[in-house]
Symmetry: C2
Subunit: 187 residues, 2 copies
DNA sequence: GCCAAAAGTCAACGAGTGATTACTTAGAGC
DNA sequence: GCTCTAAGTAATCACTCGTTGACTTTTGGC
């Protein structure tokens, strides 16, 4: 047999394990704070395999994070739907399945190596898609307003999640945010 | 004389030079990215004086950055004045006199050492002052909306400043932002 | 069963990091 | 002018980082 019985030695599976572990660690520590040794430990693989499969720490970062830095999937549907979806999503600490590319963005933006990649990527993966779904005047300004609002919410609820907010306040925030986003999306 | 003729050897002046250099380097690189050696070089002083005067890199950070992480001074006056001031200030790359504590915040938030300090400080230096100037209902939600909007703008215009925005778009953004902030401040 | 090639392991290098210890120099007070 | 203390310096420690090159083990085709 060729492709059956996944063996102990399986390059594809190993590369995948590395990728998953990298996502988790980059999420928790950011690019600079993450070490290749911790990624290797979490993946349960040897340290050197990271360089073998991804060339370098930065190469791994590009494969593990950049593709997921994409607002597009959240922008489908009517303005009302989009506004509701964004408000729901960003005012919670999230399901926290261990990886959120936008959290990685904020935690890695200061990195001398990863920062420039993230900035370039954000242009095409967030600002441009946002502009594209807008109709009417001032697309650039409106896209910026939405993107900055969302970025701030990531910082507040995904990274500074320990600062408390009552359930009542959270509900009211979601309501106001949804209304605000909807208004901007419409005109 | 005692306090006159500032000598070559002047502890107070040296400590001050260290503080200024630290602000610049922390601003540019964030806490983790900044090295004590670069701070010492920029200050034109010996490396060991940092530890002598501030105990540690983290001690220096506390003195150099945390006190300036304060929204209070920007919140004086009528809601209209505050809205205009904030809109003016945050939609520009700024005078860039080399130090903005909120830029340092974003660039250091992922740091294992400095991060917790920043989060704690932000609560009392931004969210609480904001809530305090608000009147009417939903103070917590409204303060959060303003703070997150401003945080996103810091990220967009102070850190990702190289992403272009036309003068026209910038003007329109300022107008819309001011209106939005004003509305939130009022009710 | 043999054996090349793929997959995985091991030890270490070189560059930086914050911090410390022991030393040297300058200045203020008498 | 001497001296004692504060200010500044030099050398280095202990540690972590990403990365590399040589080595060992497993696998699949013949």
């Amino acid at each position: 047999m060729k492709n059956a019985t996944p063996n102990i030695r399986n390059a594809e599976a190993t590369a995948e394990r590395i990728l998953r572990a990298a996502q988790t660690v980059f999420h928790e520590k950011g690019y600079d704070g993450a070490t290749t040794r911790e990624i290797a430990d979490r993946a349960g693989i040897n340290l050197t395999l990271i360089n073998r499969y991804y060339g370098s720490k930065l190469g791994l970062f590009e494969k593990a994070v950049l593709p997921h830095l994409n607002l597009q999937p959240l922008l489908q549907g009517t303005p009302a739907e989009v506004a509701r979806r964004l408000a729901e999503l960003y005012v919670d600490t999230g399901p926290k399945d261990g990886f959120d590319a936008f959290v990685v963005l904020v935690r890695s933006i200061a990195s001398r190596e990863a920062g420039p990649l993230l900035i370039a990527r954000l242009q095409e993966a967030a600002l441009t898609p946002l502009e594209r779904i807008l109709e009417g005047p001032d697309k650039g300004a409106r896209a910026t307003l939405i993107a900055t609002q969302l970025a701030g919410l990531v910082l507040r609820f995904r990274i500074m999640a320990e600062i408390p907010l009552s359930e009542e306040e959270r509900r009211e925030l979601k309501r106001r945010l949804e209304a605000s986003l909807h208004a901007i999306l419409l005109r």
